[in-house]
């Protein structure tokens, strides 16, 4: 079925307990107000589900959602969101991903999939245009993510080329930060959506579609597409991603104090030059790889030919993984990082939370809080990549110390006690991605107020504060001093209003960083045919941000959850951000004022009403 004007205008609903399948229309107003992706998923959740639901119960829905740009030939239009209440944080969970699954789902004629209930035994979902079946997955359960993806592609790929979403043993075993993989190379890593999928006994979703996504304004679409492609090709952000992948940021980040080291305790790391994009490109890259319709092709395909960390040719580590299994644990062996990436992928666990939790455990070991009697006899020493590799397996299979670390650093610290909480580096239960707020104070505020916890993707702050792009047309200053808290509240506020709608339209942030705000408004305009200005973009962004924040509030978050962890609020003695510390109190005060958040950390009633979120206002504040 073709998607006219950017939408299929229907949702595939699957109830696994009773095996029911239905296709329901999506209201035009809903699409207009919430675009798609996380915004639309959040609205569906708010309208139909309880925020008190146990995240790993059958009552928690798993929502896969695309947006209007998905399946067009715009660069960066491959993305989609997977949402649920997060088992890792207890708050609104959202992970986003590129690849090919999102476009294929649109080609099959669905904007999203809403999965409820729990299958009695392992199953997978097979979608082939109008045909939707729940299939037995007994023979797939227990297989790793690469194996199951390859097997399903073989099984259903005789005539078509199916796109796969799948979980590995991490999701089956409900590791709280389990990931979902798309075709082996792309991962929904954050907030444990793989565990929710596993809790439903859903091993995989296979989709093939024969439709098209047809932009409403064909001629304008062509013109905007040419302009956007040209900007991607000529942008240094695009060029550096193309030539070195996201890990290009590691070498540069060492120059600016962006890269966290030794569980965020140090500012200098001798091995950084050995573990970043240039080193990977020179020694292990076999080819680049692109998400659907993307000219940048930032994905790496790598291979370690021989030795203890030998791997087959496969997806290479991103910047975040190079940090969490590199500088976070003081490992400068890139082959070890590539191996860790492969293991996390195969087992299906988030490389950020997994590496961070291992770094947390290493600091606990250093401090004597954990000893070899807790760690199955292993010495959790800094730089020990071999121990980290063993821990990945133990975590995914929930064996020994792995069962504890599968909870993530915050919940593990609560269980360990003895002051371990001081070494967990997370916000709202979600481990920080590898960008240090001491180098970039705005990122600290961004992490603190994030609706899903510490987040690097649902906004543009990272790129704006580091000067990779400026968006002066949207009201930003042309330059920000990273190690200053002045003006950051406004920067973060604007960057969320800009980034959230782009994410809900399902545009890749790396592509967005090559563009201007007007380009994104034009992209949405030409696809949907609706009048859509830059102002509309920012207004919808504010609405969706408040919606997701409100959901997290309904799930229990308050102002005391808008904080930064101890290790990050302790100034470093050395490195490029030595002595720097974000003035979080000042930034939060200014930010709450700008966003209209009350002292409890909840958006004010009138702010929600003005944003068109009356139902949410009533649920948070009472009244009618």
């Amino acid at each position: 079925m073709n998607c006219e004007a950017g939408y299929a205008k229907r949702l595939l609903e699957v109830e696994l307990t009773q095996g029911k399948i239905q296709k329901t229309p999506l209201d035009e107003t809903l699409l207009k107000n919430f675009l798609g992706g996380g915004g639309l998923a959040a609205k569906l959740f708010l309208d139909r589900f309880s925020p008190d639901t146990d995240p790993l119960s059958k009552e928690n829905p798993l929502i896969v959602m695309t947006g209007p740009l998905v399946g067009t030939l715009f660069p960066g239009s491959s993305r989609f969101a997977v949402c649920a209440r997060s088992p890792q944080t207890g708050f609104w969970g959202i992970g986003t991903c590129g690849g090919n699954f999102g476009p294929e789902l649109k080609f099959a004629g669905y904007d999203g999939i809403l999965i409820e209930g729990k299958a009695e035994k392992p199953v997978y979902l097979l979608i082939d245009d109008e045909s939707v079946e729940i299939k037995d997955a007994a023979d797939l359960w227990g297989k790793d993510l690469y194996e199951v993806t390859d097997l399903l592609k073989q099984r259903h790929g005789e005539k078509k080329k199916p796109k796969i979403l799948a979980i590995g043993p991490g999701g089956e075993n409900k590791v709280l930060y389990a990931a979902i993989g798309n075709d082996n190379a792309h991962y929904i890593g954050r907030t444990g959506m793989g565990a929710v999928m596993g809790s439903k006994n859903l091993k995989a979703i296979v989709v093939t579609g024969t439709g098209k996504v047809i932009p409403a304004l064909a001629e304008e679409y062509k013109e905007v597409r040419s302009r956007v492609i040209e900007k991607c090709n000529s942008s240094m952000v695009g060029q550096s991603m193309k030539s070195m992948g996201t890990a290009a940021a590691l070498d540069l980040g060492m120059m600016t104090g962006d890269v966290p080291i030794r569980n965020w305790r140090q500012g200098e790391f001798e091995g950084s030059g050995k573990t970043g994009g240039p080193a990977m490109t020179a020694d292990y890259l076999t080819k680049g790889h692109a998400c659907f319709a993307c000219p940048i092709a930032c994905k790496r395909v790598v291979k370690v030919d021989a030795g203890p960390y030998q791997t087959n040719e496969g997806p290479g580590p991103e910047y975040e993984t190079c940090c969490t299994f590199g500088s976070f644990i003081e490992n400068n062996n890139l082959e070890g990082i590539i191996k860790a990436n492969e293991l996390c992928n195969r087992y299906g666990v988030d490389t950020i939370s997994c590496g961070s939790t291992i770094a947390f455990a290493m600091e606990c070991f250093e401090k004597g809080i954990l000893t070899t009697s807790d760690t199955d006899g292993m010495e959790l020493t800094w730089g020990n990549i071999d121990v980290a590799l063993k821990l990945i397996e133990k975590i995914a299979l929930r064996e020994g110390i792995g069962d504890l670390l599968a909870l993530g650093s915050v919940k593990a610290a609560q269980k360990i006690g003895k002051g371990a909480e001081a070494y967990a580096v997370a916000v709202k239960g979600l481990e920080l991605p590898a960008h240090d707020p001491r180098g970039f104070h705005g990122m600290g505020l961004e992490y603190a107020v994030g609706y899903r916890g510490a987040c690097h993707l649902q906004h543009m702050s990272l790129y704006i504060e580091q000067g990779m792009c400026t968006f002066e047309d949207a009201g930003f200053k042309s330059d920000y001093n990273g190690q200053s808290s002045d003006g950051k509240a406004k920067m973060v506020y604007l960057s969320q209003n800009l980034g959230v709608p782009a994410s809900s339209a399902c545009l890749c942030v790396f592509v967005f960083a090559c563009l201007e705000a007007q380009d994104v408004a034009d992209m949405i305009h030409t696809v949907t045919g609706r009048d859509f200005s830059q102002e509309d973009l920012l207004n919808i962004g504010a609405r969706i941000w408040l919606l997701m924040r409100g959901l997290t509030n309904l799930m229990g978050a308050r102002s005391n959850d808008d904080s930064l962890p101890n290790n990050v609020m302790t100034p470093l003695d050395n490195g490029m951000s030595a002595g720097s510390k974000p003035d979080l109190e000042k930034m939060l005060k200014e930010y709450y004022e700008l966003r209209g958040i009350d002292s409890n950390g909840i958006p004010k009633k009138e702010v929600l009403d003005n944003a068109g979120l009356h139902d949410l206002a009533v649920r948070l504040h009472g009244g009618a």
């Binding site: 000529s234 240094m236 030539s243 070498d251 540069l252 120059m255 030059g273 000067g467 330059d479």
Partner: protein, 188 residues
């Protein structure tokens, strides 16, 4: 007479001209002038910090300064830096054809270069934002980003009056300096 670019005579005469201008201590001392180039070269040749961070760098970097007649620069300037493992072997103006075809070329308007010289624009941010355009192998640049930043730091330390801040009389002086050296050394 004008010297043919690429000949030993050209090199000899160019060095002599620059040294004469340095010795003359002529005023105004202008950023991007021949004597400024000469002093920057000397600065880099004796800078231990640059030697350390650039020890792995090999190859030519060209700063391409786009013309701006209002500042006295009537044609694009190509400032050619011959850099080798921490040594700055030479900094010269070169003809456009040589400059454009060098391995690493960073292009910007004179205003942008002045912003860099004033340390108002971080050159890495400038390149990311498209305010400065880079031609060359990116992984090599990224690997040696410390060296690139030290180059810029030292350029600011050389001092000099910025071409965007010259009074009309100084603009004409700068125009003549550039015109003379361009003509005498076949740099066009």
């Amino acid at each position: 007479m004008s010297y043919k670019y690429g000949t030993p005579e050209w090199e000899e005469a160019f060095k002599k001209r620059i040294q004469e201008r340095i010795d003359a201590k002529s005023e105004p001392f202008i950023y991007f002038s021949p004597e400024w180039l000469g002093l920057w070269e000397k600065f880099l040749q004796t800078d231990p910090k640059y030697k350390e961070v650039a020890k792995d760098w090999e190859g030519v970097v060209v700063l391409h300064v786009q013309k701006n007649p209002d500042c006295g620069v009537d044609q694009d300037m190509y400032i050619h830096m011959d850099l080798w493992h921490g040594d700055c072997r030479a900094i010269r103006y070169v003809p456009a054809e040589v400059g454009k075809n060098s391995a690493y070329v960073i292009t910007g308007s004179i205003e942008r270069w002045v912003s860099v010289g004033k340390k108002e624009l971080d050159p890495v941010k400038g390149m990311m934002q498209g305010k400065l355009k880079l031609k060359g192998d990116l992984p090599t640049i990224v690997r040696n980003v410390k060296a690139a930043l030290r180059l810029v730091e030292t350029s600011a330390d050389v001092g000099g009056k910025f071409p965007t801040e010259l009074d009309p009389e100084e603009v004409e002086i700068f125009r003549k300096i550039i015109k003379d050296i361009t003509k005498d050394f076949s740099i066009n």
